[in-house]
Symmetry: C2
Subunit: 99 residues, 2 copies
């Protein structure tokens, strides 16, 4: 399982007034992520709705769940994403359900 391609979906609870600060910080962390082994894409989504449960959701593609874990549990990511601690986060790794 951990060797199959997967999608990481990370939902962030961000107050409206923190929007600009969040995007700036996320982009910095994303520069680190884009250089890690196995990442194939990262797409940050911003809610259009006025009072979303999650103002931002990052959907990223990975060659494997191990690659995602190695990248996000590295010391480099902890430094690049220290700002993450300011926001409640829900992160999981997913596979697509065939339809």
């Amino acid at each position: 399982m951990a060797r199959d391609a997967c999608t990481a979906i990370v939902a962030y609870q961000v107050a409206a007034e923190d929007t600009d600060r969040f995007v700036t910080a996320w982009k910095e962390a994303n520069e680190f992520i884009k250089q890690q082994k196995g990442v194939t894409s990262t797409t940050l989504h911003r809610a259009v709705s006025a009072n979303p449960d999650f103002r931002f959701v990052n959907v990223s593609g990975w060659a494997s769940a191990d690659d995602f874990r190695n990248a996000t549990q590295s010391d480099g990511f902890r430094r690049a994403a220290a700002w993450l601690e300011a926001y409640a986060v829900h992160a999981s790794v997913y596979e697509v359900v065939p339809t």
Copy 2:
């Protein structure tokens, strides 16, 4: 804003033992959604992790936020997705943040 292409991201809290029941019911509701105006894609993601906050996340593309709202607030959808009430749901409409 409501006339631009957008992405609906819907996260479902589902107990492990309800996995099969959820997928069956979701596919039924998805058959309805796929026939609605403006929908361009639907992709159901199932968590690989053991204890995810959200076991399932549906990411769907829409020609506009209005199309998504019309489809999911219709009587037809309420009937097709009556099972939804069994699960805690977080749904919002998103735009992609340029990077």
